[in-house]
Amino acid sequence: MQKQLRTQNEDLQRKVAAIMQSIGAASVPQQLEPYRRWLQDLVRGLDLQIERNLINLTRLGVDILPEVLDQTSIVTREVFLLTDRYLGPLLRAQTTDSLSLKLLAWMHSEHAKTCDLPVAFADGSFGSWPVESLPTLYVIPPGDQERLLHLPLCFHEFGHLLYACHRSEMDDLVKDLQEVIARRLEPVSRRDDKQAQREQQKRKQIAERWYDWTQEFFCDAVGLTMCGPAFAHSFSFYFRAIGQDAYQRSFAEQMHSSHPVTWLRVRLLADRARTMGWKDLADEIENDWQNIAAMLGVDEDYFGCYDDAFLPDLQKTIDDMLTESDPRHASAAEISFNGAINNSVTAPAILNFAWRMLESESSTYAQWEKRAVREWMT
């Protein structure tokens, strides 16, 4: 066993040396330099752990082989993760990454807890890997990386990072909400037969599912707060034509999904937009979804997973979470910005400008966007 572990660790050592060489040799945009430095530190850390494993294998007379085996597995999994996910954004970096990187770096720079966390992004459907002690790896669809219209969805992903950075306080707030929801789901009278037990299990499942759902609603609220109306336009536009699944899901499907039904998210976004003074925006997105649902023949039904009676407590919890995490607010000037675009224009300003341009002059939008991006990047 000792010999096997030694061979295994020596091979890992060669592998991390090769990775280190690739990281150093990669030609990357300036915005990825902090990410490159983090990767180099990570690989150095792995190399040190392998060294310790090799030293521990020389300690005779102490039975620490199970621990060394497990430490070897830990390093192996880290190397898998590194090569599978974290290296790609650096080794395959292109000059066309600059627009998305500029937006992501700006988002991080605007919050005290995230300003020192490097960013990178990979190809895929919108998502992120938000860990408070690591660089954030965002995932952006290739078709949206060089365009302005759906980059606002990155602000939702930034919400997950804010949650991770304030986890303890956020978990307490969500716990309180889950308990309120569990109480609201309780029937007026209790029986003790099989049917009642099944209903009890369903109520338990719903209350537990609300942990993940509350985080998603919070992230939508972060998007709206930081990016303004452009976030609501982008969210609604991106999801409204995906199909019936966005409008209605069975109870079982909802219980298997970490995301609430998208129509409900639109309802909450509209509700929040109204409280922020954007009534027309709220009416517009609600009507869009209502019209498509009618065409699909879908009624609004959450099969007991949501009730309008939850709304005041839910929005109060989201308000408290926003207070706790303190995301930057888009200003009125950014939301109505229509001036000359240059390098120092903020991300919410150019994104809100883009959505207004699309709505007012969609036939010339593509040309406008190309010019706007060029001017923002110079």
Binding site: N56, R59, G61, V62, D63, I64, P66, E67, D70, Q71, S73, I74, R77, E78, F80, L81, D84, R85, G124, S125, F126, G127, S128, W129, P130, V131, L134, V139, L153, H156, E157, H160, A164, D171, D172, V174, K175, Q178, E179, A182, Q197, Q200, Q201, R203, K204, Q205, A207, E208, Y211, D212, S258, H259
Partner: protein, 150 residues
Amino acid sequence: MNSDWMAIQSFHRSQELLTAINELSIHLKLEAAGIADAQQTERAEAGKKRLVDFLIRLQPLLETAEQNDREPVTGADARLRQLAQRLAEFRRVSTRGGSPLLRKSFGKMIELLESEKPEDRASLLLGLRDLRRLLDEHLETDTRALVGGF
């Protein structure tokens, strides 16, 4: 929007906890053999703190999972709830010969971690061994979700 965020957070949590278990376990075994290693002791202390913090966080979730499977486990993500439920199941089916993690009150495991008594070392090592097994199994789901099956 994908939900990898949950898998990556759970993955890192488990990797950190396993590292903490191993560092502490190696330290205890070296100490028992009379081998001094100041850097190992330092890493073990950091690991011990990490484990105590985590077990304190896990304790109420485990209690809910053990006391009453009708009440929701709240304030924790799906993966942490699953870990608490798995530990509750391990403890329910464990034989009398199991470690303190499995057969005694959960608080005992925290007491052992905080104990400086040499006579507690063997019990703590058994508890750490079982916690490592539990986390290794738990981690498989996240690893599969992130980098696929092998």
